[in-house]
C-alpha cells in the first residue's frame, strides 16, 4: 500500500489514542454498554418472572363469606386470602392492588341451584410488570375450582366427566434451548453493530471536523499527497477503531455471559471462538460503511460540535432492522442478506438459534456490506476533493 496512506493512518491512530476521552467514549463505552445492558435487562426480566410465578399468590377478595368452599379450595392450593372492602376498580386504577376478586351476594344462590355463579376479577391488562402472570394464576385457580365442582356434580349424576373433553390438546413445542436463547438475545446484533458505530464515531469527527476546527487542514492539504490518499488514510484509521471496538464488544459479551440468567430461563447458549470469528467476519465489512457514513457527515460539518450532533444520530440507524425483526417475524430470503445491517441481524440470529447458515448467505452478508461500504468510501473521497472543502465556514 502507498506509504503516504499508512503515514496518515498511523498518525491519526497515534493522535487519537493519546486522547483518553476518545478511547474511553468510543472503544470502552462502545464495548461495555451493550453487553452490560443485556445482563441488566435479562436479569431484571427473569427475576421478575420468577418472582411473580413462584411467590405465594395473594388474593384480595371482596365478599369472602359468599363462597366459603371456594376460599377453602384456594387456601388448600397455597394461596393467601386477604379480605378486601371498598371500590375494586379504584383500587386497581390507583395501583394499590394488582388484582381483586369480587364475589357478589347472589353467588351462593346461583351456586346451589347449579347455575353458573359469577366471580368478578378486576385487573389492568395494560399495567406494566408481571400483572398478567398474577392474573393468569388467579384465572387458573378459579378454573380449577370450577372444574372440580363440575366434575363432582356430573359424577353425582352418574355421568363420566371425560365426556366433557371431546378434544384434548397435546403440546409439541419444537423450540430448542438455543432458539429460546436467540429470542432472549435478539438485541445482541444491535449492540454489536452499535459498538462498531460508536468505535469509529470519534475518529471520523476528529479527522474531519477536528482538522477544520483546529485550523490544521490547510497546512495538511499543502503536502504533496493526493487528497484521495489523504482521505483513505484517515478512513483506514477510523475503520480500525470501529473494528477494534467490535472485537472488544464481542469479548465483553463473552465475559458477560456467566452473569446472564440463562439457566433459570431454560436457555442454553454457547459462545465460543468459532462464533466470535463468524460474527467478526459478518460485522467487519460494516465498519467500512459506518466509517464512511460518519466521515461524509463530518466533512459537511463546520465544527466539532456540529459533527458530533449529526454523527451521533447515525447510531439509531442500526436500531431499525433490529426492532422490526423483534416485532415482525421474517422469513429470511437471499436478497435480505445483501442489505447491510439487516443481513447481519438475520445471519447472527440464525447462528444464535443454532441453525446452519449457508455459505452463500454468509458470503452475501459480507459482500453486500463490503460493496455498500466501498461505494460510500468513494463518495467520501469525491466530496473531500471539492475546492470548497476549505471554505465551508
Amino acid at each position: 500500500m502507498n506509504k503516504q496512506i499508512l503515514t496518515v493512518m498511523f498518525k491519526e491512530i497515534k493522535d487519537n489514542i493519546r486522547d483518553k476521552k476518545t478511547v474511553m467514549s468510543s472503544i470502552f463505552m462502545g464495548a461495555i454498554f451493550g453487553p452490560v445492558l443485556l445482563v441488566v435487562m435479562m436479569n431484571a426480566v427473569s427475576g421478575m418472572m420468577k418472582d411473580k410465578s413462584e411467590k405465594q399468590l395473594e388474593l384480595h377478595v371482596d365478599g369472602m363469606n359468599n363462597a366459603k368452599s371456594f376460599i377453602t379450595f384456594v387456601q388448600s392450593q397455597g394461596a393467601k386470602v386477604v379480605e378486601f372492602s371498598g371500590n375494586a376498580k379504584k383500587a386497581i386504577l390507583n395501583k394499590d392492588k394488582e388484582a381483586i376478586l369480587v364475589i357478589p351476594s347472589d353467588f351462593p344462590k346461583k351456586f346451589e341451584s347449579g347455575l353458573p355463579a359469577v366471580i368478578q376479577l378486576y385487573y389492568d391488562a395494560t399495567a406494566k410488570g408481571a400483572t398478567n402472570i398474577t392474573q393468569e394464576r388467579i384465572k387458573a385457580l378459579i378454573k380449577g375450582y370450577s372444574r372440580t365442582i363440575g366434575m363432582t356434580r356430573l359424577q353425582l349424576r352418574g355421568i363420566s366427566p371425560s365426556l366433557l373433553q371431546a378434544v384434548t390438546i397435546e403440546d409439541h413445542d419444537v423450540s430448542t434451548a438455543e432458539s429460546k436463547g436467540a429470542k432472549a438475545l435478539a438485541f445482541l446484533p444491535y449492540f454489536l453493530i452499535m459498538g462498531l458505530f460508536m468505535g469509529s464515531m470519534y475518529l471520523a469527527i476528529d479527522t474531519m471536523a477536528g482538522e477544520k476546527e483546529r485550523n490544521s487542514l490547510e497546512s495538511l492539504l499543502l503536502n504533496p499527497i493526493k487528497r484521495s490518499h489523504l482521505l483513505t488514510g484517515k478512513l483506514l484509521a477510523t475503520i480500525s477503531f470501529g473494528i477494534v471496538t467490535m472485537f472488544a464488544t464481542l469479548l465483553t459479551f463473552k465475559f458477560a455471559l456467566p452473569f446472564m440468567p440463562f439457566e433459570s430461563m431454560g436457555i442454553s447458549f454457547t459462545f465460543g471462538v468459532k462464533n466470535i470469528v463468524l460474527f467478526a467476519i459478518l460485522l467487519a465489512p460494516l465498519s467500512i460503511m459506518a466509517a464512511s457514513l460518519q466521515t461524509i457527515i463530518a466533512t459537511f460539518s463546520k465544527s466539532f460540535k456540529e459533527a458530533q450532533t449529526y454523527v451521533s444520530l447515525l447510531i439509531f440507524i442500526p436500531m431499525i432492522p433490529s426492532l422490526i425483526l423483534m416485532m415482525v417475524p421474517v422469513k429470511e430470503k437471499l436478497w435480505m442478506m445483501f442489505v447491510p445491517i439487516l443481513g447481519q441481524n438475520l445471519a447472527i440470529n440464525q447462528i444464535l438459534r443454532g441453525e446452519p447458515v449457508s455459505m452463500v448467505w454468509f458470503i452475501a452478508v459480507a459482500v453486500g456490506s463490503l460493496i455498500v461500504g466501498v461505494l460510500l468510501a468513494l463518495l467520501a473521497i469525491k466530496l473531500y476533493n471539492r475546492e470548497s472543502l476549505l471554505f465551508s465556514d
Binding site: 503516504q4 490547510e218 497546512s219 499543502l222 499527497i225
Partner: protein
C-alpha cells in the same frame, strides 16, 4: 522562482484577484503588501494550488501547480494563514508527520529537524506536546513543519501576525538566513514595519491587483513621501491621501 502571469479568481460575483502578474526571484524576499481583503491570501492559495485560477498561469521553478499540484508542492514550503498544530502530538512529531508526507526518510527528517530547531531556537519545547504553546512557539513549529523538506520556494501568509517582538525578530532572522541560502521567499503582510524591515521588493496589492512595486526607497520616491506607510496610503487612495 515563482512566476505569476495574469492570474484571476472570482468567488461568485466578487472578483478577488484581477489579472495579477509578478515574479518572485531566488535569493530575494518579495512582499505582498495590502490591506485586509486586498486579495493577498487568494493569490497565495492559487500559487500553492489550493484554489484553481480562472485565467492566467503560475509557474514554480517551471512547474504549473494546476497541472502537477503534488510536484509543485514539493518545491514549495508554505506557512498558510491558518496554521493549527496537532496538540496531542509533540512539536517534533508535528514536524515528522509532514516530513513523512513529503516522502523523506527518518534520518533526513531528523537532521533537518535538528537544524531547524537550532535556527528557530526551539530547543526548549521541541519534545513537548503542542497543547498550550504560546503563539510564538506555535508559529515556529508551523514554520519548521512547512519547511521540513527544505524547499527552494518559501511562501508565508502574514508570518508574524500576533507575535511578540522577540519571536518576530527570530522569524526575520530565519528568513534572512534562508535568503542567503538562495531561497525564493514570498510573503504577505499588512504591517508596514515588517515589510520595510525584511523585503527586497514590495508589491502593493489593492482591490485584487498590483498597483505599485519596487523597493521601499523607490516607492517613497515615486510618491514623494518619506516613509512607507504614507507611500502606501498615497498609492491605495490614488494620491488623495485620506484614510
Amino acid at each position: 522562482m515563482i512566476e505569476v502571469k495574469t492570474v484571476s479568481k472570482s468567488f461568485g460575483d466578487v472578483k478577488a484577484v484581477k489579472e495579477i502578474t509578478f515574479t518572485a526571484p531566488d535569493s530575494q524576499v518579495t512582499a505582498l503588501l495590502g490591506a485586509n481583503g486586498a486579495g493577498k491570501t487568494t493569490t497565495l492559495r492559487m500559487i500553492y494550488a489550493l484554489i484553481t485560477p480562472q485565467t492566467g498561469e503560475i509557474l514554480i521553478d517551471g512547474i504549473n501547480p494546476k497541472e502537477e499540484p503534488e510536484k509543485a508542492r514539493k518545491l514549495l514550503g508554505v506557512l498558510p494563514d491558518t496554521r493549527g498544530l496537532y496538540k496531542r502530538l509533540t512539536a517534533r512529531e508535528n514536524i515528522e508527520y509532514f516530513g513523512k508526507l513529503h516522502g523523506m526518510n527518518d534520518a533526513d527528517i531528523r537532521s533537518r529537524t535538528d537544524s531547524l530547531v537550532e535556527d528557530l531556537r526551539m530547543q526548549e519545547f521541541i519534545d513537548r506536546k503542542t497543547d498550550g504553546f504560546s503563539q510564538g512557539q506555535r508559529v515556529k513549529v508551523a514554520i519548521a513543519r512547512a519547511l521540513v523538506h527544505d524547499p527552494q520556494n518559501i511562501i508565508l501568509d502574514e508570518p508574524t501576525n500576533g507575535l511578540d517582538v522577540m519571536s518576530t525578530r527570530g522569524v526575520r532572522r530565519f528568513l534572512n538566513k534562508e535568503k542567503q541560502r538562495g531561497k525564493c521567499i514570498l510573503f504577505s503582510s499588512h504591517v508596514m514595519q515588517e515589510v520595510a524591515a525584511v523585503s527586497d521588493e514590495i508589491l502593493i496589492v489593492n482591490d485584487g491587483t498590483i498597483t505599485a512595486k519596487g523597493t521601499q526607497l523607490e516607492l517613497q520616491q515615486q510618491t514623494g513621501k518619506d516613509n512607507l506607510e504614507d507611500a502606501f496610503v498615497y498609492i491605495v487612495t490614488n494620491g488623495e491621501g485620506h484614510e
